[in-house]
């Protein structure tokens, strides 16, 4: 049980992070089609 819980903890932590990153990248790419580069001062 200990090994399962330890592995589950790491999967949840890194999986949750990966899900947030994926959602952010997807949303960013979708929005980029509507926002011209001049409205993105960091580029």
């Amino acid at each position: 049980m200990t090994t399962t819980f330890v592995v589950l903890s790491y999967l949840l932590t890194f999986g949750g992070t990966a899900a947030l990153v994926a959602a952010m990248v997807h949303r960013g790419r979708r929005l980029a089609r509507q926002v011209p580069p001049e409205d993105r001062p960091w580029t």
Partner: protein
């Protein structure tokens, strides 16, 4: 002749810069090292045995959540202060709160798994656990307030005021183990109860998660800036349409 397609660079690397790409590589490398340290290199604890390995993601997660909520508070104060008022502060506050909510949720779940191994229970209504759950619900409420609608300045002012109250909960959570008799242990690191490789793994986790936080914050607030720009364009378009309708109505 059809219109030229936009260059691929407009939808790739949308929120990235040379700095964030470097930071992203450093973050990935440090997280990889943390996983190796936490799962392979560090020894099992004499009391907790292998269950202690959960601590190497649990402690950095709560650190990241605290950091994120403090930044939300500071950015909200900067927005409310007339001399520094800017929607950039509002977006930093909102982006930071979103990240903090995810990591406080991870803290609650990993802590619950650790609790099952150490205490035999997934959850107890202990002061630390209860105040952490309250912190989670409070910042969910903060995000709900951000989504209520209105203009960007209205959203910024409303949510900044909520953040000013919410940030007070952080010391309440942190010092709950000292103020009340709790099942949750007191600060083991400050008391020097952890040392050697175990201490290094926790320290490394905090460094890795701090890098991760900065990377996430930079990207998320840039995505928010684009969301605001798209909303503004929609409003401008709607205004033009209403004016045109009004002109047609007069003639």
């Amino acid at each position: 002749m059809g219109r030229a397609m936009p260059a691929p660079s407009t939808t790739r690397n949308v929120t990235g810069t040379r700095f964030t790409r470097g930071l992203g590589i450093a973050t990935l490398a440090s997280i990889g090292l943390l996983a190796v340290l936490g799962l392979v290199v560090t020894p099992a604890d004499a009391v907790q045995r292998n269950g202690v390995r959960i601590m190497y993601v649990h402690v950095p997660s709560v650190w990241l959540a605290y950091l994120a909520f403090v930044v939300t508070g500071v950015a909200s104060a900067a927005y409310l202060w007339p001399r520094t008022r800017s929607l950039t502060w509002d977006r930093i506050a909102g982006a930071s709160a979103e990240i903090g909510v995810l990591y406080v949720a991870i803290t609650l779940v990993t802590g619950s798994l650790w609790g099952r191994l150490s205490w035999g229970r997934y959850w107890v209504w202990d002061a630390r656990l209860t105040t952490t759950a309250l912190l989670f619900v409070t910042y969910l409420g903060y995000l709900a307030v951000r989504g209520l609608g209105g203009t960007h300045p209205q959203r910024a002012r409303r949510s900044a005021l909520v953040a000013m109250f919410a940030v007070v909960e952080i010391p309440l959570v942190h010092f709950s183990v000292q103020r009340w008799n709790t099942l949750h242990q007191e600060e083991s690191i400050a008391k020097g109860e952890i040392n050697g490789l175990m201490l290094f793994a926790i320290f490394w986790g905090v460094v890795a998660f701090t890098l991760l936080y900065v990377w996430l914050l930079l990207h998320r607030q840039r995505v928010m800036a684009m969301e605001d720009a798209v909303e503004d364009r929609g409003l401008d378009r709607a205004l033009v349409e209403r004016r045109a309708e009004a002109l047609v109505g007069r003639t």
